[in-house]
Symmetry: C2
Amino acid sequence: MIKEQYPSKLLEDAVEAIRSLPGVGKRSALRLALHLLRQPQEHVHHFTESINRLRDEVRYCSNCMMISDGEECSICRDHSRDRRTICVVESVRDVMSIENTGQYHGLYHVLGGIISPINGIGPSDLTIRELTERLERLTAESSDPVEVILALSGDVEGETTAFYIYRQISKFGVTVTSLARGLGFGDDLEYADELTLGRSITGRQPFHP
Amino acid sequence: MIKEQYPSKLLEDAVEAIRSLPGVGKRSALRLALHLLRQPQEHVHHFTESINRLRDEVRYCSNCMMISDGEECSICRDHSRDRRTICVVESVRDVMSIENTGQYHGLYHVLGGIISPINGIGPSDLTIRELTERLERLTAESSDPVEVILALSGDVEGETTAFYIYRQISKFGVTVTSLARGLGFGDDLEYADELTLGRSITGRQPFHP
């Protein structure tokens, strides 16, 4: 029965391709392939064309390594932003998440991953050299203070990466900070893990009634 | 903040295109777009190419309307199958499901949908005319019995479609059957709905110990 499973090689190829996406199983892939088959041809061509264009034409900002349509990204081009505060993040998605808070007005530096020996990702696979070069330029330009925010995840890999970067950049005399950790808004004390609750207590803040 | 949400128009276009897939939300679409961006270029091209080829080159079997790479599908081309039993189903996926059971050795007829006034789908949008022409040919060819299995879903739309087809094909003097309904294997009596349990009782079978 296995070889007869797909009525068409074309369908089988498309299902296999769609299945290669993360989190998409065989059944969903078939459902998506049959959905695309029912769409107007120009709709399907627009779909594939926009994916091809993304892959073929996207660029990375020469300053912060963020996805960009040009030489510099829209954040680095925005001169109303604080150019001497750099928020170091793992990925493009983290930049988008922080931008959505509307609380940050500095620039970014996208590492493009996190140090993870288990996945074979070392410091040289990330944009850490670009960060040190950038800090070298910034501190040479002016003696105004520079702040680097290490906005990495709180797991072992995130902590390792933060520590590695800290050692690389401490020579520039910049202020290095990291994200506040604690209970989320609306979180219930009862259900918080001990580590988070512990950090919330040691990092307690003055009460503003 | 809304206009700044995407760092790149190319990314935004790709996310919008991926979001048009059923069951894919904004966050998943972004995740998939960024995943594709990290893949080798030839991998992405293979992905989009296989979808384009499916949409542009797939054909439908001239006999049963199943997806096919040629004039006739592999099931209709298989002359070891019973050519006078036709299983009428809504979609390509139903054919694949029934084929996977390994229990059916006749041919199929794919309606390409189900009668649904609420979705604006009438009998003329389905391949019912092709079915009647097929039965006309089959019954003219030989006086051997022909069986049509109406393998449609058990909801109102399925029942309506089955009844409509039944009226269209009864003039050919073919045997018309429908799928057995009842408790599924391993189903618990306690949790079965009344309709299903009722059908299981009225349609009870001789016990084979």
